[in-house]
């Protein structure tokens, strides 16, 4: 049977001693965590092991001996080392040896309680695997996505073994806390952070973070209490609040901040990562917002913007008027019903006229409004972008109105035509059985139905053209808004902290490991170096994505096309309940 011994690289040149670690019987692997130097009192060693075991809940044991000497171990030392096996009984007993100055390693494994019936000394083969203790301690293993044919918990054995190693190292943090240079009763050799003194700022920050969090949490709870005040639940305000993306964004950010500054400690590393991601995302957002603010409020850019906005809105209205006049003629040589065409065209022209007068009424106040709105950028770039999106929505309200009128008219015609077509064929829709049944109609029903069918059929192209043009305009506006929302979502949900970690400390997020062969000679144990495979960026984003607002309805392309064809309203109105014919 092949025995795997995981050995920390930092211990490969320390003095001789005992190997302390954990034995994983399922994988037949020994995870060496530290080397315990001579001299020691066995009772104290055992006490230390029990302490560590209690703190970390990992089965600690003395796994064997470590011998690092000038020459081959002399006879008395060899006997002494073998004798230690009787003080710390462990099965199997490892004996690692390294000659000082040379690269030759040797490893012996002996089993005390070898079954006597077999009568053979248990000569296992040993594979030495070196690992960087610091990296393994800090890294978090992300098991590969479970294949669909594997049940949960049925992950491949190798993955489980690796997870056990990572888990052992991570949980025995308690062991690493003891300082190498301390003059304690027991001297241990293992990895330890260098420069604890340099991180005094971190310590200060840690110390200060508690009260700051408490204060901010109080403030945030005040704000959220104010936002759930009854005034905001009244009909017009709640309706406006649910439709404006600014309100959605503010609510979302408030949730983030509440979570980040909650006084509860993060329970799992994933939650900690999530908090850090949120904090970084909020900080970046505010930084970007502040830079935008300083750019906007310098050199009277707000005034320029306000001066440009009204002519642009005017221009859009003029272009729309031209479009309508074109539609009222014979657009693209299409055969439209002249009377209906004129009626629709005049109706829409009047609407544009109303809109222009509204814009002109507004124009003196626009600069003032923009200046105040610009201040909101200090809440973050995302808030400013959401406000921009809302302003676009307000300024293109006439396009939205046209779209709604066109869609309603078109929808009416489509549904009318489909049910009249059934009447035309002498069928009807049976609601109870959800199918088309044949039906005998009265003479007058048939006559009126067919009359209406003919009229609707000949008027359909005109309505459809108006609907098509206004839907295209509306889609353009929705696309612009969608792009802004996409940007906001990106800032909201991108796990920036995780990405930075992946960039600067690739070992912190491990996808798996790879092994390099250090030495492979006959008669000597196989020596491998375990290196950590960093997680790919796509999986980092996928794993640590922050939940998005979820305030925008999601359409598949198919359902969008279907809705467009049947003239049902797309964004921002939610889908009504299932349509009953």
């Amino acid at each position: 049977m092949l025995l795997k011994a995981f050995f920390p690289t930092c211990c490969s040149s320390v003095d001789s001693g005992l190997l302390v670690g954990r034995w994983v019987p399922e994988q037949s692997s020994a995870v060496v965590l530290a080397v315990l130097h001579f001299p020691f009192i066995p009772a104290q060693v055992k006490e230390l092991l029990v302490q560590v075991q209690r703190a970390s809940r990992v089965g600690m044991a003395v796994l064997g001996t470590w011998c690092h000497s000038q020459q081959e171990p002399e006879e008395p030392l060899g006997h002494f080392l073998e004798g230690l096996g009787t003080i710390f009984p462990h099965d199997p007993w490892l004996q690692l040896c390294r000659e000082r100055g040379s690269k030759s390693w040797s490893c012996k494994v002996s089993c005390q309680q070898a079954p006597a019936a077999l009568g053979v000394p248990c000569e296992d083969q040993v594979m030495l695997i070196f690992y960087d203790q610091r990296k393994v301690l800090l890294s978090r293993l992300h098991p590969s996505a479970v294949l669909p044919d594997h049940q949960a918990g049925d992950a491949p054995a190798s993955t489980r073994g690796l997870a056990a190693v990572f888990d052992t190292v991570a949980r025995s943090k308690e062991l690493f806390r003891s300082n190498q240079f301390n003059e304690g009763p027991v001297r241990l050799s293992h990895w330890q952070s260098e420069g604890v003194e340099a991180s005094i700022l971190v310590e200060l920050a840690k110390w200060a973070s508690g009260p700051v969090c408490l204060l901010l949490a109080c403030l945030l709870s005040l704000v959220s209490a104010a936002s759930t005040c009854r005034v905001f639940r009244l009909w017009p305000l709640s309706f406006i609040g649910s439709k404006l993306s600014t309100c959605e964004q503010l609510r979302h950010r408030l949730e983030h901040l509440t979570l980040v500054f909650s006084t509860q400690k993060a329970e799992s590393p994933a939650q900690l990562m999530r908090k850090a991601n949120m904090l970084v995302s909020v900080l970046l957002d505010v930084a970007l917002g502040l830079s935008l603010l300083s750019w906007l409020h310098g050199k009277n850019r707000i005034g320029q913007l306000a001066d440009a906005l009204v002519p642009v809105a005017d221009h859009v209205a003029k272009e729309l008027q031209h479009l309508l006049q074109w539609l009222m003629g014979a657009p693209a040589g299409l055969k439209m019903n002249r009377a209906l065409d004129q009626v629709l065209g005049r109706f829409f022209l009047y609407h544009i006229h109303l809109w222009i007068s509204y814009i002109h009424l507004m124009s003196p106040f626009i600069e003032c409004i923009l200046w105040h709105v610009g201040l909101s950028a200090c809440l973050g770039l995302t808030v400013a972008l959401s406000i921009l999106s809302d302003i676009i929505a307000l300024l293109t309200f006439h396009i939205y109105c046209f779209y709604v009128y066109g869609a309603r008219l078109y929808c009416l015609k489509i549904y009318g035509l489909s049910s009249l077509w059934r009447l035309f064929r002498g069928k009807k829709w049976n609601v109870l059985r959800q199918r088309v049944d044949s039906c005998s109609y009265d003479l007058d029903q048939l006559f009126i139905g067919t009359l209406l069918f003919t009229i609707l059929l000949f008027l359909l192209p005109t309505t459809a053209l108006y609907y098509l043009v206004f839907t295209l305009l509306r889609l353009l506006v929705v696309t612009v808004q969608g792009l802004i929302h996409l940007l906001v979502e990106l800032i909201n949900s991108l796990p920036l902290y995780s990405l930075g970690l992946r960039l600067c400390r690739p070992y912190r997020l491990a996808a798996g490991v790879k092994f390099c062969i250090l030495e492979h000679e006959a008669g000597r144990p196989l020596r491998l170096l375990m290196q950590i495979n960093p997680l790919p960026y796509t999986r980092v984003v996928h794993t640590y994505r922050l939940p998005s607002c979820g305030c925008h309805p999601k359409h598949s392309w198919g359902s969008l096309c279907r809705k467009l064809f049947f003239g049902e309203l797309i964004y921002p109105w939610r889908q009504r309940g299932d349509k009953q014919d």
Binding site: A330, K335, D444, F447, L451, I455
Partner: protein, 297 residues
């Protein structure tokens, strides 16, 4: 190889059953097989004049379409005043309404339970809706090409003739679809007329000739076959006369068509009956003769 079964047949007689094991292959039949062959058991013998009488329904419907197209042509040319057509149509409708009740002395009305008030209401609905929509109808197809309209009307009238309920029991027959197609064609044609009054009169006339007239015909045919023949002949001659005033060639062709349908087709049908050779026997697929509808409910 064949010797074995032959010797067996003398001992074991073959039976036409599958539930007993027999020393024959599954597809074995003996000589009695063709004894059950029957020929033409469902063939019917037709009387020539009876078939001619039945074909008059087709003639009537062809003539109706012809009369409708002729009247539309007169209207389109401005040779026929809409008032006159409206008056005539109204008068003939009233006469037909009275006749409809007189023929069977009100028995059909009692059976259907339809009141005169409902009739009046229907008539009012027809008139009101047609009159209200006639300006819309007038401008409905302004921008559509005349040829398109003609093609659409021809297709719709052909469909009307195809799907009309001539009394045959076939899946294709749908009186609803046929009537709807006729109304569609009449609306298309009416939208080509010069004024909205014309359109109104035209659609009203279409209702009378495509919806009301076949109802009266059916009752006439059922109750007084002799007068029905007379009416058919009169109607056919008037349609021919109308067509003759427009185009002589069309009238001749239409006359040929009518003659071939009413005289040649029945003759041909009876001749072809002689060549009929349907065979029936035990190989026919099973036919369920009992009425199973009581199990369905």
């Amino acid at each position: 190889m064949c010797a074995q079964p032959v010797t067996d047949t003398k001992e074991a007689k073959w039976q036409k059953v599958l539930y007993e094991r027999q020393p024959f292959p599954d597809n074995y039949v003996d000589r009695r097989f063709l004894e059950e062959l029957r020929k033409n058991i469902y063939a019917r013998k037709y009387q020539y004049w009876a078939v001619v009488f039945e074909s008059s329904v087709v003639i009537q419907q062809l003539c109706s379409v012809c009369v409708f197209v002729v009247i539309w042509w007169y209207m389109d040319e401005g040779l026929l005043a809409p008032h006159w057509l409206f008056g005539t149509g109204l008068a003939s409708s009233l006469i037909g309404y009275v006749l409809f009740d007189l023929i069977d002395r009100g028995e059909g009305r009692k059976k259907s339970g339809r009141t005169r008030w409902a009739d009046l209401k229907s008539a009012l609905v027809f008139i009101t809706f047609t009159y209200g929509f006639s300006p819309v109808l007038k401008t409905l197809t302004e921008s559509v090409s005349t040829d398109t309209i003609y093609a659409m009307s021809v297709f719709m009238l052909l469909g009307h003739l195809i799907f009309f309920d001539y009394g045959a029991n076939a899946a294709i027959v749908s009186s609803t679809l046929s009537l709807n197609m006729a109304i569609f064609a009449s609306v298309c044609l009416a939208s080509r007329l010069p004024r909205s009054l014309h359109a109104f009169v035209m659609v009203t006339f279409a209702i009378q000739i495509f919806a009301l007239w076949p109802m009266l015909q059916k009752k006439l045919k059922a109750c007084t076959p002799r007068s029905y023949v007379g009416v058919t002949l009169l109607f056919a001659f008037s349609a021919l006369g109308g067509l003759l005033s427009i185009s002589a060639v069309g009238a001749i062709l239409f006359a040929l068509l009518l003659v071939s349908i009413s005289c040649l087709c029945p003759f041909y049908l009876i001749r072809l009956q002689l060549f009929k050779e349907n065979i029936h026997g035990p190989w026919d697929e099973a036919e369920i003769k009992e009425d199973l509808s009581r199990f369905l409910s």
